[in-house]
């Protein structure tokens, strides 16, 4: 089934066109992004049951971008009627323009050219099997309650299981002098977090699930809940690792965290404009093992970061960032691409209509290789299988790595010993890690359970992943 269009956006589109045409009399470039998003979060745990809107993703509103032949300004609002259009125009023409006259001495206004545009008009929708609205709150809560109770009953050492489901049904319109675009998207994610106590310390294992679709994902969660409970109990016997550099196998989820945090943020080209990314100096150079090819793109995979056009009206693409170890190009929003004189890659994304667009990743992953998982484990004399990535932080300037993973499983003489170390901090220098990749498995898995921030804000949905990889990594 295709996701339907928004009745609300259909209703306000004539008003937005009026606003656009009125502003085009004053400005050489005007665009309007309109958004209608329903996003809900369901969760069940011993804390209780909750059904709430997602406060970041939920909402209806608009952002107007204008170019005054020197620079760009934006106005976000969420109320429009025929009568309110003159006051919106007044706000843009008078107050938004006024801001740049308030700059203190020594601070100048940045000067840009007009954004280039090509004619485009389309309406696209993603597919789903089971719409969360159709399934309904009663059954979603019932599924999650079953999951939570099943995990809690698994072993009396289990303290709790939080089972959650989140979805966003998103409708967007992009209007400008030459563009009239519409997209309708549905994604659904789930999570299972099982907690067990070891005295005052609580150990937990978290698994995320995601799809570009609907609540059909709940079935996958049901099949996995006992595994999550089992992994949590294993953590009760874990101990701290002896710091050092080891041969490691990364699960696709940890590979995804490395792709996204260690390298992906560094090729967001708004960082090139600010001279904040080391990657700018490495275009055309080897940055990874020849086994490595890396993609990013809203059309590169069908996952939670899939869309048909970005928040600046640029069509979605599949960008090859690293090809056989060589850094080919970065990703960019429109203004960045214009500044750097490179083609835009459809990566201009906003947290929502209330926020600025930045260069952001979408679906980011390494391509598959030719090795098998079994051969990779067998190749390790002493090392670890790293799994259950929990967080990471980018360092585009210096390519430092910080990733936290929950589990390191000991490998000795090509076999898993059953011994577990936790928690683990991965550190090091990005090219050293990527160049050390010596084996890559033959299947790719992406996960889109999480959000990505730019620094500590501007949360957008992303997916990342890849194959199992073997690399030398510093653990602590």
């Amino acid at each position: 089934m295709k996701v339907n269009s928004s009745d609300y956006l259909k209703q306000v589109k004539p008003l937005l066109k009026t606003l656009l045409n009125d502003l085009l009399k004053e400005y050489s470039y005007v665009s309007i992004l309109a958004s209608d998003s329903k996003a809900m979060v369901y969760s069940v745990s011993k804390q209780g049951t909750s059904i709430n809107e997602d406060t970041i993703l939920n909402g209806r509103g608009f952002v107007v971008k204008v170019y005054d032949n020197k620079s760009y300004g934006e106005y976000s609002f969420n109320e429009i009627t025929k009568d309110s259009i003159p006051s919106i125009i007044r706000k843009i023409k008078e107050e938004l323009a006024f801001l740049k006259t308030l700059l203190p001495d020594g601070i100048t206004e940045g000067v840009y050219a007009r954004l280039p545009e090509e004619e485009a008009s389309f309406s696209e929708s993603t597919d789903y099997i089971e719409n969360p609205d159709t399934l309904g709150s009663e059954l979603i809560v019932a599924h999650l309650t079953t999951l939570s109770e099943k995990a809690r009953a698994f072993d009396n050492r289990i303290l709790d299981c939080s089972a959650a489901c989140r979805y966003q049904q998103l409708h967007k319109l992009f209007l400008s002098e030459k563009k009239d675009l519409e997209q309708n998207i549905l994604w659904t994610t789930g999570s299972i977090m099982v907690m067990a106590s070891r005295g005052e310390e609580i150990k937990y294992y978290f698994n995320g699930y995601s799809n570009l679709g609907g609540t059909e994902i709940l079935k996958e969660m049901e099949q996995d809940v006992e595994n999550v409970a089992k992994y949590t109990l294993e953590l009760l016997d874990s101990e701290p690792i002896t710091p050092g550099e080891y041969d490691c196998i990364c699960t696709p989820e940890v590979t995804g965290m490395i792709v996204h945090e260690a390298f992906g943020h560094g090729v967001e080209m708004d960082m090139f404009v600010k001279k904040r990314a080391l990657a700018e100096q490495y275009i055309g150079k080897q940055v990874a093992s020849p086994l490595v090819t890396m993609h990013d793109g809203a059309s590169a995979a069908g996952e939670t970061a899939t869309y048909f056009f970005d928040d600046e009206g640029v069509p979605a693409q599949d960008t090859v960032i690293i090809e056989k170890g060589i850094l080919k190009r970065g990703i960019s929003d429109s203004q960045t691409a214009m500044y750097l004189k490179t083609p835009p890659t459809g990566n201009g994304r906003r947290q929502n209509y209330e926020r600025k667009a930045y260069t952001r990743m979408t679906n980011t992953f390494f391509e598959a290789g030719t090795d098998t998982y079994a051969d990779m484990i067998a190749s390790i004399k002493y090392g670890f299988l790293l799994e259950n990535a929990s967080s990471g932080m980018e360092d585009p300037k210096n390519w430092g790595i910080q990733l936290m993973v929950n589990v390191a499983r000991e490998i000795k003489d090509g076999k898993l010993t059953g011994k577990i170390f936790s928690p683990i901090v991965l550190t090091g220098y990005v090219p050293d890690l990527l160049k050390s990749i010596s084996m890559i498995s033959d299947t790719v898995k992406l996960g889109g359970g999480g959000f990505c921030g730019k620094g500590y804000k501007e949360w957008v949905k992303v997916s990342d992943g890849g194959p199992y990889i073997k690399a030398k990594i510093r653990l602590g």
Binding site: R60, P240, R276, G392, K397, G400, G476
Partner: protein, 433 residues
């Protein structure tokens, strides 16, 4: 009498829809936000933005019985300008239906009365958002005077928020608050090209605090440019300062919330010694600070003692979890104040130490007590010389170190924290070279 062209305000439409659907228990949050936003690359304005948005959030409560136990389910939705009365009524009806599947044991909702709009007045509210933006921009760049160490980029957000909170138990309170928030990146290009990210948040026109923060960050970045190697792997006495002290103390704030205690994620009880038995270092004293006059449920908030001489004095939380624990709801707190410690920062540095001033991302896990992060900049004192180092990571547990805390006499103010500038932690594992 309605005038021609009169449009019923959305708030009134919501009240009508609640009545039409015979919903007797509800909470409405009506939030008006106005902002001015400036984005800089070096000393150039790259983008300017303004925002005027109005959000309505409605929580409906549905009382029912299950297995002879009285339940109170709830569901929260957003309602938008432009919705017809029929759409609003339908959305509320659906939310009420969804709430009937939320099997949470019954709890009382807070009650109150109508109060006058509370305007939090200070230098920030005396000016327009644009005028305040200009003053904060001036402060931001005032210390940016050097050629090799400078502000690479910055963002400033001035936001005025008017919140109105109304529930079915008589609460009708509102307040207006203006804040200035933002972030900046300091860069030093020689001898190595390095940078430091920093954020700021003030409820007042605190230009001096911003200037100080910029000055300290520029100095930190300059020091990092001279750091070449990671510390050797091993066990260290670690000094944490700045925002990382807040992260450590917020473990106690979060562990003492009713939402963590009710499901037994936290074993804290009133009178618990939160530092464990046999405390040999400094005893904890923490005060909860009310950053807002009311919680999101409309509960009046005031400063409260959280921990006194290591003993827990208050459990804080919303009406549901507090009802379950049989305590008076306080609202959920985000900010704390901690008194100064007994050691000067200089005294802390008399013996060997590793003073970490910048992590790539410091993580403090409220469940496990584990903390750690990759070191962006630290100063290593081996008893003779101080060397700037970068790289490697620390990995520790607050459960292992909390009996031997030392806090600095010097104080600092960070977002959601006022307290010691530094804390000394013994026997911390460091993964280095």
């Amino acid at each position: 009498m309605k005038k021609k062209g009169w449009v019923k305000p959305l708030f009134d439409k919501i009240l009508s829809a609640l009545a039409e659907n015979k919903i007797s228990e509800y909470l409405i949050n009506d939030t008006l936000k106005e902002s001015v936003e400036l984005f800089f690359i070096k000393k150039s304005l790259d983008m300017r933005r303004q925002k005027d948005v109005h959000h309505y959030s409605v929580t409906v409560y549905h009382d029912f019985s299950k297995d002879n136990i009285k339940m109170r389910g709830s569901s929260t939705i957003s309602l938008f300008s432009g919705m017809t009365e029929a759409e609003i009524s339908n959305s509320i009806k659906n939310a009420y239906y969804a709430a009937s599947f939320v099997c949470n044991p019954y709890y009382d909702l807070p009650s109150g009365q109508k109060e006058a709009l509370l305007k939090i007045k200070n230098a920030l509210t005396d000016l327009s958002l644009s005028e305040s933006a200009k003053k904060m921009t001036t402060a931001l760049f005032e210390m940016d005077t050097e050629k090799d160490t400078f502000l690479n980029s910055a963002e400033i957000f001035l936001e005025k928020v008017t919140n109105r909170i109304v529930n079915s138990r008589g609460i009708d309170v509102s307040y207006e608050k203006t804040t200035v928030k933002g972030e900046f990146v300091a860069q030093c290009v020689t001898p190595q090209d390095v940078e430091t990210y920093q954020s700021f948040s003030y409820d007042n026109l605190d230009t001096e605090a911003l200037k100080t923060k910029v000055k300290q960050t520029l100095a930190m970045t300059k020091a990092r440019a001279n750091a070449n190697t990671a510390p050797a792997a091993g066990e260290y006495t670690v000094l944490l300062s700045g925002q990382y002290v807040r992260e450590l103390f917020h473990y106690y704030l979060n562990r003492s919330s009713a939402g963590m205690i009710y499901p037994k994620y936290s074993n804290y009880q009133i009178g618990s010694n939160v530092q464990g038995e046999d405390v040999q270092g400094e005893a904890l004293n923490i005060t909860l600070i009310a950053n807002e006059p009311y919680s999101s449920e409309g509960i009046p908030m005031k400063d409260l003692p959280l921990v006194a001489e290591s003993k827990l004095e208050t459990i804080h939380g919303n009406s549901r979890f507090c009802h379950y624990l049989g305590i008076t709801p306080t609202g959920q707190y985000q900010s704390i104040k901690v008194p100064s410690g007994s050691l000067s920062f200089d005294d802390m540095k008399k013996e060997k130490y590793l003073h970490v001033v910048n992590f790539s991302d410091f993580q403090m896990d409220d469940f496990s007590g584990h903390f750690g992060g990759e070191i962006r900049l630290a100063f290593l004192y081996d008893g003779k010389t101080v060397t700037p180092v970068t790289g490697g990571s620390i990995n520790g547990s607050i459960l292992d170190v909390q009996r031997n805390f030392s806090f600095s006499k010097e104080l600092q103010v960070e977002e959601h924290f006022e307290g010691p500038f530094a804390v000394k932690l013994e026997h911390i594992r460091v993964a280095g070279i």
